[in-house]
Symmetry: C2
Amino acid sequence: MAVIFERVALLGIGLIASSIALGARKHGLAGSIAGHARTAETRATALELGLCDQVYASAAEAVKDADLVIFCVPIGAMAAMAKEIAPHLKPGAVLTDVGSVKKAVIDAIGPYVPGGVEFIPGHPLAGTEHSGPRAGFASLFDNRWCLLTPLDGTDPDALARLVAFWQGLGAKVDQMDADHHDLVLAVTSHAPHLIAYTMVGVADDLQRVTESEVINYSAAGFRDFTRIAASDPTMWRDVFLNNKEATLEILGRFTEELFDLQRAIRRGNGQQLFDYFTRTRAIRRGIIEAGQDTDAPDFGRATKEKGQ
Amino acid sequence: MAVIFERVALLGIGLIASSIALGARKHGLAGSIAGHARTAETRATALELGLCDQVYASAAEAVKDADLVIFCVPIGAMAAMAKEIAPHLKPGAVLTDVGSVKKAVIDAIGPYVPGGVEFIPGHPLAGTEHSGPRAGFASLFDNRWCLLTPLDGTDPDALARLVAFWQGLGAKVDQMDADHHDLVLAVTSHAPHLIAYTMVGVADDLQRVTESEVINYSAAGFRDFTRIAASDPTMWRDVFLNNKEATLEILGRFTEELFDLQRAIRRGNGQQLFDYFTRTRAIRRGIIEAGQDTDAPDFGRATKEKGQ
């Protein structure tokens, strides 16, 4: 694949940025990669792993001459950083981010974007529960969605190049407005994360069940919650603080529905439970058909054994 | 491995029974396997896949001469079946089950167990979201726990043989009393399942977000919920109806905790959220160390790509 941006600057070098770097190198999408990280340790790791060609303690220095600048820091850190880098951005540069919330990112970065720089907010729906520069891998975005929420008047050519960059990393790209993005993500990601965090916290609190019991017997459902609830605390704090309204709306609907099912359990209404559980199964089938998960009956462990 | 039970009878032939059959054959744990299923289609499938040597439309016929009889039907069907098979059980036979709740199973089966038959309730903590005789695979129980809740006065030799059978299938075996089992499972399995079902139902209801959006953008959290929420509706209806008290207690604690976190979001209390999310991360590490899940940063997809 041809180089799409001659110089790419990554602001923050964690799971997402390191995966972008590895993917961009593998697919030849960038001429060179600059990186900014606050700590000397992260900068050293980025050089050691070959993620970046140059690393900088200063974000302002990192963005110099960059054709694509990607904010890969927690949302809470974006406004100050945008203010800092603004005077140093190259005219014609594309500025984007990977934040999980889009309205708040537009509020944080938007006011500082200088004329001649194209700001196109973005959000790759990919991640693991691991964080840091060593957590990345080149295939993280393979067949995953990247949602862009372009503002009115975005230059079509800049947009096309950013789309091509994400597609080059293996992602499928979709576009929507920022408000809608934040609602969709509240449903598919933010509320589920808070719920998972909560359930794991409850298990941890319960004195009559030991921690080793919770850990040993987690296979039947709880394990998937712990995976979700192990995600980066700083990132998730910022997600909830920055997508407050949509998350609280979805959580309100969730508790309403949960109370209704609790009532069905208390009253022994088996038919209501059965009907509800049957309906949710269909959604799972849709996700498998859409290629967003595997249908392997053993969840991918020991597939060789299957059917024997 | 040596044959542990000369003849094994499986009552109900779904995911768990078919996995027991495949594992028992692979490891040579049973001389022969009889199966009972209500539908002719399931019986034909069991023969076609080689799960059973003989299949029976009648449970009473299936248990004749069996040294080990395993109830693999939903909990709601156990009492009537126990009554039906009781007069046909071989003296000295071991009777067990794979139900997700143990007090209710003891209440359902216990009264019908004839003298000279050893009833040892059991629960393998293994499963997938698939059901039916074609869903089984021999390694389903590998490195998973099987919890036995023996009653007072259980014959130690019968217990030892049942333990050896489950270990032969690859499982680790633990013993506890039925009350404690039901509380532990309410935390690690039953409450998480109800929560996952609820969240998937909420997503399905939300008119402003299309179904295809929910499906496409499920990767970031929601996908794991849909996996849990795709489990067998009949089985789960019976679980909740039969572990009512413990499940409602845990759900009560869950909503209490969730409300506290919602309040933190509404008030913008980032420190509380950060501290909570940091605490839950430690539990995840414990589960990985206990070998109940993998630490692969890409969740097992495309591991070859890692670090490139």
